[in-house]
């Protein structure tokens, strides 16, 4: 019994010791704290969530899943999805590609890196597309290209505006040349929608890069961006290697693009619904109803 008591004390001692060791080398539990990739400040996850995943120190607007984005953007229960059953094939026979796609489909509850459909935003009906960087960095392959193209064709036919939340690492190399051609295919559909008088709003979110920046993302009539997000054509590392110099922190940020003239406005997440519905109003699109509820 006495032995037991000693054992307990020993256990407690060990527990305390490991506690102190933890303080010495803190490991940040991913689900408890958020560390901002821009300013490195650390905040509690529930505060971060409450702020719709934005950094309280530098206002970086962090990445959202397609479901999170839909929830804070569309009126409640207004979303009707398109093309949920489309599955990518493997154009160049890239090893394990189908397997990778399948596991990402299960993890993200979506068939590829973009959700498309129609919804209302504060009562205004619009075609919407939301890219999800959790899915192979939202790279564009056959399915992303086809879903975007069909969304624009649907909008053209039904005289609807299109709002795309872009995020992408660029073309999906695993699909070879077929992925490059999606840039032409999507841009062609955007051009036809535009020539028919349709409104297209791009909202650039973190990160919008590569072949997506060099195609449909840059073709919006109005281009909005969230604060502090990364937007660019070439990768930062590639440029750094070319010029052999460190790049300034704000290089390829939304603010950098605003200053160089490639973004119309930077809009905070909390004001996004209002900004979007206001632009739709300014283009004479009509409200479907006044009974919208915030999603």
């Amino acid at each position: 019994m006495l032995e037991d008591l000693f054992k307990t004390v020993k256990d407690r001692f060990n527990a305390e010791k490991s506690e102190t060791e933890k303080v010495k080398a803190p490991e940040i539990p991913k689900d408890l704290l958020f560390k901002c990739p821009r300013c490195q400040s650390v905040i509690f996850m529930d505060e971060f969530e409450k702020r719709r995943k934005t950094c309280p120190s530098c206002n970086y607007h962090a990445r959202l899943s397609w479901k999170e984005r839909l929830e804070i953007t569309a009126d409640k229960d207004s979303f009707e999805p398109f093309d949920e059953k489309m599955n990518s094939l493997n154009p160049i026979g890239f090893p394990e590609y189908e397997k990778k796609i399948k596991s990402l489909q299960e993890a993200n509850d979506i068939n590829d890196a973009i959700a498309t459909g129609v919804c209302t935003i504060r009562g205004y009906k619009t075609v919407i597309g939301i890219m999800d960087s959790n899915f192979m960095m939202a790279s564009m392959g056959s399915v992303v290209g086809e879903k975007i193209t069909r969304a624009f064709e649907y909008a053209t036919e039904n005289k609807l505006p299109v709002i795309l939340f872009t995020a992408s690492g660029g073309a999906r190399m695993q699909e070879g040349i077929v992925s490059l051609m999606q840039m032409a295919k999507t841009s062609g559909a955007v051009k036809r929608h535009s020539d028919a008088g349709g409104l297209y709003i791009t909202v650039m979110t973190d990160p919008t890069t590569g072949g997506v920046t060099a195609s449909f993302a840059s073709l919006g009539d109005i281009i909005l961006a969230e604060p502090k997000v990364l937007i660019g054509f070439a990768g930062r590392r590639v440029i750094q290697d070319t010029i052999k110099q460190k790049l300034p922190d704000d290089f390829q940020s939304a603010e950098f693009l605003l200053q160089s003239g490639f973004v119309d406005a930077i809009v905070e997440r909390k004001g996004m619904r209002k900004a979007l519905s206001n632009i739709l109003r300014l283009h004479n699109y009509k409200k479907q109803s006044d009974s919208w509820q915030h999603g």
Partner: protein, 267 residues
């Protein structure tokens, strides 16, 4: 005998492989160079102007690989800046106005990656070319001469017909870049080149390439003038054919050419 992608990669890297500086005088007459994008400057990575081929005026837009270091320094190793793409678009619009076919000669490792290129909107410049070429109301023919590198090539390759020289390659990223990003090992370049399916024959199968232009045995450098003649014969035939098609049909065909590319299933 069919050559592998790696063998073709070696051929197009041959120092004496002809460039647009060899081909333009051999294929066209009355070439008149026109400079500048009217917005920022003139980009020597893209050479453009008006010329005739078989008596017909055409607009020529060409990416300039240098034949030596000096030429390459001037043309930035054929890696255009945004003003290069904007110059191309300006001349394409001019061609549309005067009903001239547009001939794009593609030969680039890719659009330039740099601070100034980003600042001046490399992504926007490429995107705009892709969208505008899609509805350009005049025939557009693109010929890949050597390297067709990613978006930097596509900005001059939204066309009614895409032809490739027999040994030319056209890819979403260089084999080296592919190996470096996906396998973290740029040394696996050759393996990547084979896997990526980037030869003219591969691209015919994908519906990207419409015509393969023959090169002399061993590659274009073995007989530049014969290669130029093959390109010329193809262009004359294609221009004759495409200018007979009414413009609405031409544009619908162009849209569909790209619209149908994609590999997926739907249950």
């Amino acid at each position: 005998m069919t050559l592998s992608a790696t063998q073709r990669l070696e051929i197009i890297r041959e120092k004496t492989r002809p460039t647009v500086n060899d081909y333009i005088p051999a294929i066209f007459n009355h070439f008149t160079e026109l400079h500048g994008d009217r917005l920022y400057g003139d980009d020597a990575a893209i050479l453009s102007g008006i010329a005739t081929i078989d008596g017909t005026p055409v607009t020529v837009i060409a990416q300039v690989k240098g034949r030596n270091l000096e030429e390459n320094k001037k043309s930035n190793f054929s890696m255009p800046h945004p003003e290069g793409y904007r110059k191309a678009l300006r001349l394409a619009k001019q061609a549309e106005k005067f009903h001239r076919p547009v001939i794009c000669l593609v030969d680039t490792p890719g659009a330039f990656c740099g601070v100034e290129a980003e600042k001046r909107g490399q992504g926007e410049a490429i995107a705009k070319n892709i969208a505008e070429f899609m509805t350009l109301k005049t025939p557009v023919i693109s010929v890949v001469l050597g390297e067709g590198g990613s978006g930097g090539a596509l900005a001059l390759a939204v066309c009614d017909e895409l032809a490739m020289l027999e040994n030319a390659l056209y890819s979403v990223i260089s084999p080296r870049g592919f190996a470096s990003i996906l396998w973290k090992d740029p040394a696996r370049e050759k393996e990547a080149a084979e896997l990526m399916k980037i030869t003219a024959e591969n691209l015919v199968e994908f519906g990207v390439c419409d015509k393969i232009i023959a090169e002399p045995v061993g590659g274009a450098h073995n007989d530049p003038s014969a290669t130029a003649e093959n390109i010329s014969d193809y262009l004359i035939e294609a221009i004759g054919r495409l200018t007979k098609i009414d413009i609405d049909t031409l544009l619908e065909n162009r849209y569909q050419k790209f619209r149908k590319i994609g590999m997926f299933t739907e249950e």
